[in-house]
Amino acid sequence: MKKQIITILVVLVASVATFAQSGKQKKADAATEAWRYEIECAGVGADGTYLVKVWSYSKKPSIAITQAKKNAVHGIIFKGFSGDGRSCASQKAMANNPNIEAEKGDFFGPFFEEGGKYMKYVTESTDGFVDAGDRLKVGKEYKIGIIVAVSKDALRKDLEAAGIIRGLSSGF
């Protein structure tokens, strides 16, 4: 009887923790959809990649860190990012239709879900080590900055093939 109670308690605690985690993840995803992240140029990436620094918000630092990769890809597709006016040039969003995310919801839903295809384009990130200056406490939340390298050529090609954005030679 005692063993059964302990098992039930362990399962209960584990499921509460899981629900809390998935709740935070959902909040982080909602923040991404609401554009609640900041993205800036972090240098000239290798050929075919963008090197960006993404600032994400979450009460749990680990969620903010994982969400940074999703935000990096999201930002490159829909938001574009600013540079320093030097070698780090500002870049426009890949999709020039502002409503494309809603219009192609069937595509972007699974694309940005946990373990979705967006991870294919994240080639490197500094999620193993976050600099002290890149971990800020804002109210009850953490604002965490991660540098992410995104394979933009591969991303663009796949979006063109899926008919989400037009290629330069489309129609010719």
Binding site: C88, N96, R166, G167, L168
Partner: protein, 317 residues
């Protein structure tokens, strides 16, 4: 009867398929070093034009003597090919023109006839493209620090409009050599350039291709553009034709005299009524046919320049 119906359906289906696969005429793009770059780097030739010294860029010497130019153009060509839009290579275009001139000079028929070439044909023999990517960079030095100013301008060869651009200054560096600074600049700016080029193409697909049409007259022709047909001057007739045949009636008459007319910002459809892709020549051909017919009966000569410029000279072939 049944066989005939099947055949008609098959022909119709083929026609529909060919329509659905119709593609607009693709513009050619070529990277060209700007006059400013050629002048700053000493790649100019001068000649005396009736007492005035004129400087023109010596592209061939620039390609032969400047390794950075080859590197930058090669990088841009590679990145554009990656985007599915391979560019015309200027150095190769110059070589092809030279070998073609040599071949034409040597070519003769069995009876000894040479290849016909008018002065206009000779004038047109230059390396050209529908869109020019004009490239400029300058090296800045502040003490031991070096940085690069980089500018890429996309210019429509016919309308002279700047349709795309990307420009910026790289970070100053003590140690990085010029080729690396240039490569960084190309990588940093090419996507912005392509984004503005894409906007230009999107506009073209929505509002038609923008071209220029010139109408002139041979001095041997007794008529002119003020001649009246059914109470209307020929120039007004031409404007009415333009309104009826351009996309949303969009064009501007920039110049009009009794001897010439210049139509700019003429938006032509990308396809004709049969679904065939057309350019300035295809569009001006319809105007040529219109002028040949009654009540005008004006013989005329049609000349073209690439996808975006056509000239109709009235009075003779």
């Amino acid at each position: 009867m049944r066989k005939v119906t099947t055949k008609i359906f098959a022909i119709l289906a083929l026609f529909m398929v060919s329509l659905s696969y119709a593609q607009a005429k693709k513009p050619t793009i070529m990277v060209v070093p700007s006059d400013l770059w050629c002048n700053q780097n000493g790649f100019m030739t001068t000649y005396d034009n009736q007492g005035t010294t004129v400087k023109i860029p010596d592209y061939k010497r620039a390609f032969q003597e400047n390794p950075e130019l080859i590197q930058v153009i090669s990088k841009i060509n590679g990145l554009m090919a990656e985007r599915g839009f391979p560019l015309k290579n200027m150095e190769s275009a110059i070589k092809t023109l030279e070998s073609e001139s040599a071949e034409n000079a040597m070519l003769s028929s069995k009876s000894g006839a040479g290849v016909a070439e008018s002065p206009i044909d000779k004038l047109k023999k230059v390396a050209k493209a529908d869109i020019i990517m004009q490239l400029t960079w300058t090296l800045n030095s502040t003490g031991p620090k070096k940085s690069v100013n980089f500018t890429l301008q996309g210019i429509d060869s016919y309308t002279d409009k700047q349709i795309a651009t990307a420009t910026g200054t790289g970070s100053p560096s003590f140690s990085v050599v010029l080729p690396v600074l240039l490569e960084e600049s190309v990588l940093a700016h090419i996507d912005n350039f392509n984004a503005s080029l894409q906007k230009h193409f999107d506009d073209m697909f929505e509002n038609g291709r923008e071209i220029i049409i010139r109408v002139k007259k041979f001095d041997s022709w007794s008529g002119d553009l003020e001649q009246e047909y059914g109470g209307k001057e020929l120039s007004s007739v031409l404007e009415e034709w333009m309104t009826a045949n351009t996309v949303k009636g969009r064009f501007s008459t920039s110049d009009a005299t009794e001897n010439m007319m210049l139509f700019e910002q003429v938006r032509i459809p990308l396809y004709d009524a049969t679904g065939k892709a057309i350019d300035a020549r295809g569009f001006a051909k319809s105007l040529q046919d219109f002028l040949k017919k009654a009540p005008y009966l004006i013989p005329n000569k049609l000349m073209m320049k690439g996808l975006g410029q056509a000239v109709i000279v009235l009075g003779e072939k």
